[in-house]
Symmetry: C5
Subunit: 339 residues, 5 copies
Amino acid sequence: MTSEPNDGSGNRPHRSVINSAAYSNGVRVADIPIADLGDAWKHSDRFLWVGLHEPTEKVLLHIQQAFGLHDLAVEDAHNAHQRPKLEVYDDCVFVIIRTVKLSDRENQRIEFGETHVFLGPRYVVTVRHGSPHSHVGVRARCESTPNLLAKGEGFVLHAVMDFIVDQYFPVIDALEAELDELEVQIFSGKLMRSVTARIYHLRRDLLAIKQAISPLIEVSSRLARSNSQLISDDARPYFQDVHDHVVRIADLIDSLQQLSQTALESNLALISVGQNDDTKRLAAWAAMLAVPTMIAGLYGMNFKYMPETQWVWGYPVSLGIMLVSCLILYQWFRKLGWL
Amino acid sequence: MTSEPNDGSGNRPHRSVINSAAYSNGVRVADIPIADLGDAWKHSDRFLWVGLHEPTEKVLLHIQQAFGLHDLAVEDAHNAHQRPKLEVYDDCVFVIIRTVKLSDRENQRIEFGETHVFLGPRYVVTVRHGSPHSHVGVRARCESTPNLLAKGEGFVLHAVMDFIVDQYFPVIDALEAELDELEVQIFSGKLMRSVTARIYHLRRDLLAIKQAISPLIEVSSRLARSNSQLISDDARPYFQDVHDHVVRIADLIDSLQQLSQTALESNLALISVGQNDDTKRLAAWAAMLAVPTMIAGLYGMNFKYMPETQWVWGYPVSLGIMLVSCLILYQWFRKLGWL
Amino acid sequence: MTSEPNDGSGNRPHRSVINSAAYSNGVRVADIPIADLGDAWKHSDRFLWVGLHEPTEKVLLHIQQAFGLHDLAVEDAHNAHQRPKLEVYDDCVFVIIRTVKLSDRENQRIEFGETHVFLGPRYVVTVRHGSPHSHVGVRARCESTPNLLAKGEGFVLHAVMDFIVDQYFPVIDALEAELDELEVQIFSGKLMRSVTARIYHLRRDLLAIKQAISPLIEVSSRLARSNSQLISDDARPYFQDVHDHVVRIADLIDSLQQLSQTALESNLALISVGQNDDTKRLAAWAAMLAVPTMIAGLYGMNFKYMPETQWVWGYPVSLGIMLVSCLILYQWFRKLGWL
Amino acid sequence: MTSEPNDGSGNRPHRSVINSAAYSNGVRVADIPIADLGDAWKHSDRFLWVGLHEPTEKVLLHIQQAFGLHDLAVEDAHNAHQRPKLEVYDDCVFVIIRTVKLSDRENQRIEFGETHVFLGPRYVVTVRHGSPHSHVGVRARCESTPNLLAKGEGFVLHAVMDFIVDQYFPVIDALEAELDELEVQIFSGKLMRSVTARIYHLRRDLLAIKQAISPLIEVSSRLARSNSQLISDDARPYFQDVHDHVVRIADLIDSLQQLSQTALESNLALISVGQNDDTKRLAAWAAMLAVPTMIAGLYGMNFKYMPETQWVWGYPVSLGIMLVSCLILYQWFRKLGWL
Amino acid sequence: MTSEPNDGSGNRPHRSVINSAAYSNGVRVADIPIADLGDAWKHSDRFLWVGLHEPTEKVLLHIQQAFGLHDLAVEDAHNAHQRPKLEVYDDCVFVIIRTVKLSDRENQRIEFGETHVFLGPRYVVTVRHGSPHSHVGVRARCESTPNLLAKGEGFVLHAVMDFIVDQYFPVIDALEAELDELEVQIFSGKLMRSVTARIYHLRRDLLAIKQAISPLIEVSSRLARSNSQLISDDARPYFQDVHDHVVRIADLIDSLQQLSQTALESNLALISVGQNDDTKRLAAWAAMLAVPTMIAGLYGMNFKYMPETQWVWGYPVSLGIMLVSCLILYQWFRKLGWL
């Protein structure tokens, strides 16, 4: 195993090469330094599996020379922020997949990354960009089933894709949970300013995931129908399985997008209803202030002959009338549902 | 008939195997224990039909070994929550369909389930997940028409699909009835907070059904155009018939989705109209309080020379003026339609 | 002509068989009882045209046996509420078309019906469901042009389809007129509660028609490109003509759907504008009450030294000030367009 | 040149036949009466170009007999209000195009018309319906370039289509200008009732043009890829050019449709903002009336011991307090942006 | 290098011909005057690369005659405002691409231009319209890698397209930054009139870019799959790379369009919420004025027997009651979140 020097920009030493091993009959037989990959590939029939993480240009150059990769694919592999795609060159398949992960960070739900895979006769190179899960687990799982690994390169590509696609499900579950929570808030009757912002951010996340997953529909479908010698006939159902998962994820996102749109519109309707309710409540209280004010105004008039004003009980009776009229109004508004 | 031991998680004993029988010329001739299915299939030309319900892994393993099913299909059959699909392997057709049922439960209109069907030469295995209707009725109906059943595996698949697809219609009828009821409420002139929530939940149900039914359009269409030996030529019009039903269901859902969207928007418009009506009503009553208040204010002024205040009839006349002006206002607002 | 006994459910005797006649060289030569259709078809080269209206099962059985129709098609023909479609069997074409008619009934603009057509060598059977127009006119028109009728079965199918499709135009004209009327109301400046409900019902009608007509696009297109011997080469331009009409109807509906959506949104905007106008008008009147109330309040203060209150003209002058300030406000609100 | 008698319905004599001429090597050699077209076409190799305007049935019959046109095409040519289309018969191409023109009339921005073209070996017949521009200019332009005209029928069709399609651009420019003007009004801060109606009518116009132009995309594309002998190989790039223009027009309309939708929604948002602004302004003025009213109310109380009421300066000081509190409120609302 | 005389319309002398050079083995060997291009092309095997900027008709005529270009393409090249397209003539490929640039001008974010490319055997002609970046950089970069330039015409076309497409990214970044800024404003809780206008203009810009980039998806895809001899096999992956970029740009725009739509709707919802908040705040203050006014009204009544009015402490106590009730209301509204 070769450890490349750190790029120097970070504090933690960065390891470009995570793994570089040769397999024979599905069993790991040797670690191959990056510089020796070319010889190892040409002069033996062992299967090579190299795992890189944000590799330096130097490492990529070694890889390119070892397996004779196309300039453009190597250039892509060096730059993240590519669109998921499948590129078929003469003797090499190049796949880009976007990876997702629920984020621990504040203000961000999802972290995106990218995995690029070069697949050729007797070699697989995976290049990982961004923080999401390492593929160490994939390698360990593959190594624990040597008979599958012995079936060749196609199965490694499948294992990596399957692993990455499965990571979408918890993310979508989290977004579904978020929408369920928003539903409760929207229909709770309380008007919350934050709901609109949360729906907006949910929709932004859904759009981002959709852009990551939709190109995979075609990629996985092409792999399942591929004529390439690199994908053996019995590997195709497995890619079809990946394809089914991708389509299901796309379906779920589609559904969430439509539901969140309806939620946004329902929210708007309920804001209006809530506004109306508030207006009515205000009006009811205003009426209960206005009626005594009017009655008081009456007895504030300066007519010479106002019999009530001369009565001993005039004042308390007028107060009583005010109180009673307020109570009647209160009951009435109660019945109308305004209070 | 074999009865598998309960999985142990529930209280009620759970039967994995509902039915496992051999048919000859469309007539049930024997019940075959799960463990003997492989022999029964290989060493006789009788047709085998196995019905499972949320089977244990052990049962599925028996089935897989008996008929040599593909790993991936068996894995799918064990896990529910798959997308409806049709998978064609060399000598086996694997179909997943989602089933629906009107729910008795509070707060939930629709229950979803899944039925997976393995169809091969001289055998059909149906695996049911979730609570909706058992297929016992399908088997009974098939057994009552031996001549159809004698036509082979394809007809059993058709019978199961036809049965499941027909269960969508009452569900859609229920949603249509719900929308009709909502229409009445929306246009009744009363502002109901619950209407928005009900439209939202209607739309959520429609989305869920749409996701269950739309993949069936392609599944049924592929079965109707299939070249597989498992689907005989004279079975194809029957799958075309299923296809027509599926397309009609999809059409109905589409229509309900668009109508419910319009209902949501109409609701929003009518909430605004209702708000306006309330504002006007409030304003009318406010005016009828404000006018006497103003008149009372006039006669509350402390001018030395206010002839009216000295009149004996000043007070009752002023009260009369207030009353009359209120009545005039009332009539006027009435005419304007504000009250 | 055979008259089938009434089904018994209605008050009016119901005639299943409207017409059942044989044609030779485009000329009607005999009426054939339903029971004799099979013989008449097999043992002569005359062309048979049968017209049914909501036939009993017994009548359909006669027809099926006479021409050897497929079970599924006959089952469809017995049940209305099918989706328009074209089914091609070995030697028979089965077409379902939905018919429309402007309704006389209260609360319903459009009545839908269905016409099913069986077309085979030397026979056409039309089965009509629902109330819309009978096809008697079609038969009469066909019989008046024997040379066209002599061209064969395809031309009869065309005549029926052309007749049914042409019935869509007056319905769409009525919906267009409705939208024009709604436009006038929306932009008239008056706020009408009923407008929203009418747009909603217009959109519901449009959706229903769209569902009836859109499957016909493919049906008519397939007939125009058909290789079936039943549709002769020179009949194809005629089906292309039907296809053009269907596409035009679909276009018109599409356009009405989009316009009515815009109308719904414009309505919403104008409701808000109207609300604002009302608020301003109310505020203006409130101000004209509040100003005199405030002035009256001033002179209601009990200060010992308020010179105005001692003046002889104090009271009328204060009333004058109130009046003048109200007039000034009135003019001002007028200028602002609030009144 | 033949002049057909007027149909009699209008006041101005109506000329069905605008032009009917024979061309040899691209040069006009003779005017041919309608009645002689058949002979002229059969017995010479000259190219015939006939221009009709809302022809009578008699004229169309002459034309049909002369060139052996299909019944359905002639029927179409007699009735306007067809959908743009391209119909290919054995030896004749029939094209329908909708024409547009900016209208001079009040309350209508756009006038639509139709041009039908019959194109066969050595003849072109154009039939114009509705008022928009005559094709006299097209003929003049073609006659001025005999070498192009000599290339045959296809070039005449191209010239007509190019001319008609180019007429769409000024109409779209006018609609763009209308939207620009609406933008200014929407964002000007003034609330105008008319804006909503104008957006609605703009959208109606856009829909009408879209329906006129979109079928042309396929028509022009089919002409550019046509295998018909009537369209020579070197004419195809010219139809491709027409196709490019049509697609560009469709693009522009699409863009205007989306922008006008956004404008409608922005308008709605700004109506709400405007409403809020008005409410705040009203509230500010209401507060400035309510504060003095309350203070006046205080000093209207009849307590025996209210020292202020006994002061000589009590009254002016209270007025001063009212004035100052109003000024403070005014400044404060100013700062808040409510006034 | 030939310098054409200025067109005369501008103040600055305008150079139609930016560059006109011959290359041999990827190295610039000579500058060729426009008038000599035809000879240079026919009588040598050197590769010619001509760069024009808003060329005069005379210059274009020279070019057309030199390389035998099609009339229509030359006509297009003279007029800007074309839709991006790829036209394949017998021995020439004609490409139109729209260019974008962030604008320095006030009130305009983006400037559009057009680049037309003629590509034939051993020649490339680029015609630039509008202000955006010159291609001098492209030429310089190509000249610095003679080995790539030596590969032929296809690589020059790729270099130009790659350069133009890369210019879209900073523009989209700017629009993304604008949307991020708008998000902050929308959810800041402050109601800003300008936000709606800014979303509108953002959406207008997005539509304009979308119209510029979407036709490129097909153009670049066709170039990547092209069979033309002008595009060599090893050039295709490079066009596929351009295609990937174009699709990614289209994806980003799509995403921004959907997000900005959601932003518009969220803005609308928050305007309503804000309106409601303002209404509540107003109502709270109104209540705090109305309560003392009512109390003052009470003690303004002229009853003979009102014990409080006779008390020495009556006045200050009543003031205290008013103050306390206001404070209680203030606290209460505070708790309700209305203030």
